[in-house]
């Protein structure tokens, strides 16, 4: 992919329930490197499935999907790809409750050649970036929703990924915290030239992106 596209999807099909449900129905999509794209659509439209497939959390039944130079339909073990190229931010932050904030941020670094001290230093730096360095020893349950989502952003940045995938990152937050999270993500996109792909059903949130893609019944609406 030397045409500047970081994501290239052709005729992507994903079925569930023994083929009875077509979650993705022949999607073609190209996303440029450093682009901020929002994917909108109602519940069950296939937007999260599409995001999961870009992040190699799910596999395609048909079609091709290339992300950051990797053919995701060919590779069997995609853990290295997920670890090094992708940073996930989920709606419900998905932090591990019995680990400290610092430990949660270090999790993606395991198996990437970091020494323990390096992992701690990097995690502290990332927590400083999301303005939570003073809460590194706390457990996620002791933080507010907005703070937890900021920890999730720090965790997503742990291995300096080139693509951030955010699935409804503000979905469980109030408008003030939601706005703050979006500002952080936008800053990240602008300052670090990170490709940001965000799923949302909120049109106001989607309007912050460079481009908006609408998914309905597993197909992109043009």
């Amino acid at each position: 992919m030397n045409n500047g596209n970081v994501v290239e999807i052709k005729n992507l099909i994903k079925r569930y329930d023994n083929g009875r449900i077509k979650a993705i129905n022949g999607i073609d999509l190209e996303i440029k490197e450093g682009e901020f794209v929002s994917i909108i659509g109602p519940s069950g439209s296939g937007k999260s499935t599409l995001l999961n497939m870009i992040g190699a959390l799910d596999t395609a039944d048909e079609g091709s999907i290339h992300v950051a130079g990797n053919d995701l339909t060919l590779k069997k073990d995609l853990s290295d790809f997920r670890s090094q190229k992708i940073g996930f931010i989920f709606q419900l932050h998905n932090l591990i409750p019995n680990l400290s904030v610092l430990e949660n941020v270090t999790i993606p670094m395991y198996g990437n050649g970091y020494k323990s001290k390096q992992m701690t230093e990097r995690a502290l730096k990332l927590l400083e970036y999301v303005k939570l360095q003073d809460k590194s020893a706390r457990k996620p349950t002791e933080l507010s929703g907005g703070e937890r989502q900021r920890v999730a952003i720090a965790r997503a940045l742990a291995n300096s990924p080139s693509i951030i995938l955010a699935d409804e990152p503000t979905g469980s937050l109030d408008s003030k915290n939601g706005h703050m999270i979006l500002q952080r993500l936008k800053e990240l996109h602008e300052q670090e030239n990170v490709t940001l792909i965000m799923v949302t059903h909120d049109l106001k949130v989607a309007s912050m992106a460079d481009r908006t893609i609408e998914v309905l019944d597993g197909e992109i609406q043009t």
């Binding site: 959390l57 853990s79 290295d80 997920r82 989920f90 998905n94 591990i96 999790i107 198996g111 291995n159």
Partner: protein, 183 residues
Amino acid sequence: MDENEGKVHFIYVKINNGADLNAVSQSVQNAYPGELTTIASLEDYQRANGGLEMVETASTAISLLAIVIGGIGIINTMIMSVFERTREIGVLKAVGWKSRRILGMILGESIVLTLLAGIVGIVLGIIGIEAIIRLSDTAMVLSFTPSLALKALGIAVIVGIIGGIYPAIRASRLPPTEALRYE
């Protein structure tokens, strides 16, 4: 009994012709009160030996039963742990953890759990033996040796591996999207 290898279990005493067997036996017992028992006939010896063999067989059977029950307990505990942490495993996969790292994590937890249980068991065993010795006036000497403790820890590790392998494989093969959807 084999744990007492190198120690004296039996002393054979040959008495002179015409000597009173019961009197000699009684005087030996009187000389070492509470430390040894005397057996004065072949029948008594065979009875005592048969009793000891039975105790040894029963002890082995109880140990095997404990190992099997412990193994089932570990499988159950680790399966429950994997179930409860399905979403966590999904997160680990989403951030790029390899299946073998997740397998190692679950297996490691299982081994640590059984090792800790083994240590607690050894401590309780020592306390139990001490209590039996103090509370009973048996002439039988109960002992607990370091090699027995090591054997117990070795068995604990093996039980940990066997009991943890299935839940660990199950966890490592969880599809990330399914694991993340788990409530």
